[in-house]
């Protein structure tokens, strides 16, 4: 992409669907569906909607439904948000420091492996169920 990216600057509000071949950086606000190779949300940025990207790096505000391979989170995750990812990273904030991320009422589905609710014996090892590319069994 030759270093090109789509930038939604601070003070800008975008409503609607956006599809991009370039990485998207949001310093302003997006409300709507979004598809791109990657999404970066700055501390001043907010993305509300359905998002399908390769990677998310957010320090801002997320709300809605997010599907990504990798997610690095800080900032805020609003109520009723679903995050699906193969890998999620949230750095632990120091005990007396500012919260790294504040989660509202939300749902996290992370990891390819389908975990089982029934764990019978310590010795038993259940092979992971086959999953498709989206991590769905």
């Amino acid at each position: 992409m030759n270093g090109r990216k789509t930038l939604v600057e601070e003070g800008t509000q975008f409503k609607g669907s956006m599809t991009s071949d370039c990485p998207i950086e949001v310093k302003g606000r997006i409300e709507g569906d979004l598809s791109a190779p990657s999404l970066q949300v700055s501390p001043s940025g907010a993305v509300h909607g359905k998002v399908k990207v390769g990677a998310i790096q957010s320090q801002g505000e997320l709300a809605g439904e997010f599907d990504a391979d990798t997610v690095q989170l800080s900032g805020t995750v609003k109520d009723n948000t679903v995050i699906r990812a193969k890998s999620l990273e949230v750095k632990l904030a120091p005990a007396n420091g500012k919260m790294q991320v504040i989660f509202g009422e939300c749902q996290l589905e992370v990891g390819n492996e389908q975990p089982t609710k029934e764990i019978a014996k310590p010795a038993s090892v259940r092979p992971p169920e086959p999953v498709d590319a989206n991590g769905t069994p």
């Binding site: 509300h48 505000e61 709300a63 809605g64 990798t70 989170l73 805020t76 995750v77 609003k78 109520d79 009723n80 948000t81 890998s87 999620l88 990273e89 949230v90 750095k91 632990l92 904030a93 005990a95 919260m99 790294q100 991320v101 504040i102 989660f103 509202g104 009422e105 939300c106 749902q107 996290l108 589905e109 992370v110 990891g111 492996e113 975990p115 089982t116 609710k117 029934e118 764990i119 014996k121 310590p122």
Partner: protein, 345 residues
């Protein structure tokens, strides 16, 4: 055929003759007064000494296999190296007795009083010790595998390097017991009292930092309710099933890589780290944690209810989550919580 009859034994005792090394198989001397008598190296297999008074008697290296010693008073008796396999010592008084290196495999010691007894290197495999009093007993390096120690009193007992694998310690009282290097794989510790117990393998004290409690690999706890005080440090490498765990404020609670909490619930303002597995039974599985970290390789399936001032989360790449995050109930029931993660419009 036995060398001596009961009458002959009594005659010998009266005249001061020794009965050591005698063949006394099947000897019947119930309730006999035999205090201080030496039966060293005697063969007393199948003997009936029910209710006999055998205080300070000497049975060093004697064979008492399948002997009937129920209710016998054997306080301070010396049974060093004796073979008591399958013997019935139910309700026997063995206070201060020396049972070092004795073989009590499969013996019935239910309700026996073994307080202060010496049982180092003693074979107690599959022994029945339900309700026995082992207060202050020295059981270091004893083999108690598959033994039944349910409701036994093991207060201040020394179980250092003892083998308790597969033993039943349900409702046993291990107050201040020494369990250093004890093997506890597969032991049932349901409702056992481990307060003040000392063992890096199971429970240990760490100076002013409070108690560090360690549940080792291979241990299984089912249907237990555990409470850990404020400031305690807990590490679990075991399998916990259907357990409820209450954490005091600031309690450090670590599920190790081999640890699995299945169908469990954790409550309280603790700091939780999951390297292993946590699976809830009833939602929310975790309530009120001030900190929750799931490391690479760790997995969490269940709901987490945050306290009023939020949970501090940490997730490492490689963790597996099927997780719902819920907001805690407001303390005053009044205004909306001041957090930034309010309801989405």
């Amino acid at each position: 055929m036995a060398d001596l009859t009961a009458d002959a034994v009594l005659r010998k005792i009266k005249t001061g003759e020794k009965v050591e090394r005698a063949d006394l198989r099947g000897l019947a001397m119930p309730k006999a007064l035999l205090e201080g008598v030496s039966f060293r190296r005697c063969d007393l297999d199948g003997a009936n000494l029910e209710g006999a008074r055998l205080a300070k008697a000497l049975f060093n290296n004697a064979s008492l296999r399948e002997a009937f010693l129920a209710g016998a008073d054997m306080r301070e008796a010396n049974l060093d190296g004796a073979d008591l396999e399958g013997a019935n010592l139910q309700g026997a008084i063995l206070v201060g007795a020396n049972l070092n290196r004795a073989n009590l495999e499969g013996a019935n010691l239910q309700g026996a009083d073994l307080s202060g007894a010496r049982l180092t290197h003693t074979q107690l495999v599959a022994a029945k010790l339900g309700g026995a009093n082992l207060t202050g007993a020295n059981l270091s390096r004893a083999d108690l595998s598959e033994a039944d120690l349910s409701t036994a009193k093991l207060i201040d007992a020394n179980l250092e390097s003892a083998d308790l694998s597969g033993a039943n310690l349900e409702e046993a009282n291990l107050l201040n017991a020494n369990l250093r290097d004890a093997r506890t794989q597969g032991a049932n510790l349901k409702n056992a009292n481990l307060t003040g117990a000392d063992a890096p393998g199971l429970v240990k004290k760490e100076g002013t930092e409070g108690l560090k409690r360690y549940f080792g690999k291979g241990d299984v706890l089912r249907n237990a309710h555990l409470e850990f005080d404020s400031g305690a440090s807990v590490e679990i490498e075991s399998l916990f099933e259907q357990c409820t765990i209450a954490l005091g404020e600031g309690t450090e609670f670590v599920v190790g890589k081999s640890g699995t909490l299945s169908g469990c619930q954790i409550r309280g303002a603790g700091r939780i780290t999951i390297h292993g597995k946590f699976v809830e039974k009833e939602s929310p599985g975790i309530t009120g944690a001030t900190q929750l970290v799931v490391t690479s390789g760790g997995s969490l399936i269940g709901a987490v209810e945050q306290p009023a001032d939020y949970t501090r989360f940490g997730f490492e790449p490689g963790c597996i989550l099927r997780m719902k995050i819920q907001q805690g109930k407001k303390k005053d029931g009044g205004a909306e919580r001041s957090g930034k993660a309010g309801r989405q419009r």
